[in-house]
């Protein structure tokens, strides 16, 4: 039961801070000018966070994951499609695990 409350707290907390990020720009930054350095920092955050998730999952897990990561990357670069990249990554991981195990 306490896990249910924790999940609810996490989700509502996520919603609250996300709304704050949405209103903050309109409330504060319409008056204050954003410095270029701060602007560059904000722009770089999503990519850097996602890279931090990907790097250990692909490079520090095993050969199947490394191959799957390569397949997903190649597919994403050539097709720019999220679902296709997932199919390629998952497919290669499945094959590599069955063959290498």
């Amino acid at each position: 039961m306490s896990q249910q409350w924790a999940a609810l707290a996490a989700i509502l907390g996520m919603g609250t801070v996300t709304y704050l990020t949405r209103i903050a720009g309109v409330l504060i930054l319409s008056r204050v000018r954003l410095s270029p350095g701060l602007k560059r920092w904000l722009e770089q955050i999503p990519g850097a966070v996602i890279m931090s998730i990907v790097a250990p999952a692909v490079l520090a897990t095993g050969p199947a994951e490394a191959l799957g990561g390569l397949a997903a990357l190649a597919t994403a670069v050539t097709t720019r499609s999220l679902p296709l990249a997932m199919v390629a990554g998952v497919g290669v991981v499945y094959l590599a695990r069955s063959l290498l195990a």
């Binding site: 996300t18 720009g25 890279m51 931090s52 998952v90």
Partner: protein, 244 residues
Amino acid sequence: MTSWRWRLAREAAWLAVVRAWPVALGVASYGVVFGILARQTGLSGAQSLLMSAAVFAGSSQFVALELWGMPLPVFTIVVTTLVVNLRHVLMGAALAPHLEGMPRGGRWLAVFFVADENWALTMAALAQRPRAGAEFAAGYLVGGGLLFYLSWLASTWAGLACGGMVRDPAAWGLDFAFTAAFIALLVLFWRGRGDLLPWLVAAVVALMASRLIPGKWYILLGGLAGSLAGAFSPREPDHGEKRS
């Protein structure tokens, strides 16, 4: 002070819906993936739908699933969500001048729909209409936003329905679906060589932190290190220019 002209706002909202629906289909494909992965992570259907309804920001929701575990790291999830979504501050700041003159309550409501795709479409529409007033800006933002919001909820729900059908995801390599989705997101985020250094720093710091520190702190540490490296690195003076 002129009165708020609803007709203009409604017309703008309709324009936005016409322009945005193909993009909404693309967003829906992410929503389906989110629903599948949420089910796989162990969230209930109600929890997943509530997250999509309350947060309405795709990449942060994917990251939250990655952090989800027992016992639930509530603080880490909320702080990481805040950091991932800080980019909205920038979007809101760009939008702010266009909402001048709008009633305050309406402004508080309209900014809820600041999301990557909807914001970009709204800014593009505003760039084409330099003389458009706040009615147009808000109507466009909310019209497109409602469409994206509904498709995000409906597709989350569809993904939940699909995700329940697989018993043992790892046996099919489906546990890798997350990582593959993030790789594709990275490719879509890539804006040029300026991203190389911050991403490299993020990868190295995350790899080291994941070895040394228990839990999922490596995501936040790598993300902060990489983005700060990007902010402080010297930028090429010819940034944005094409070399022949």
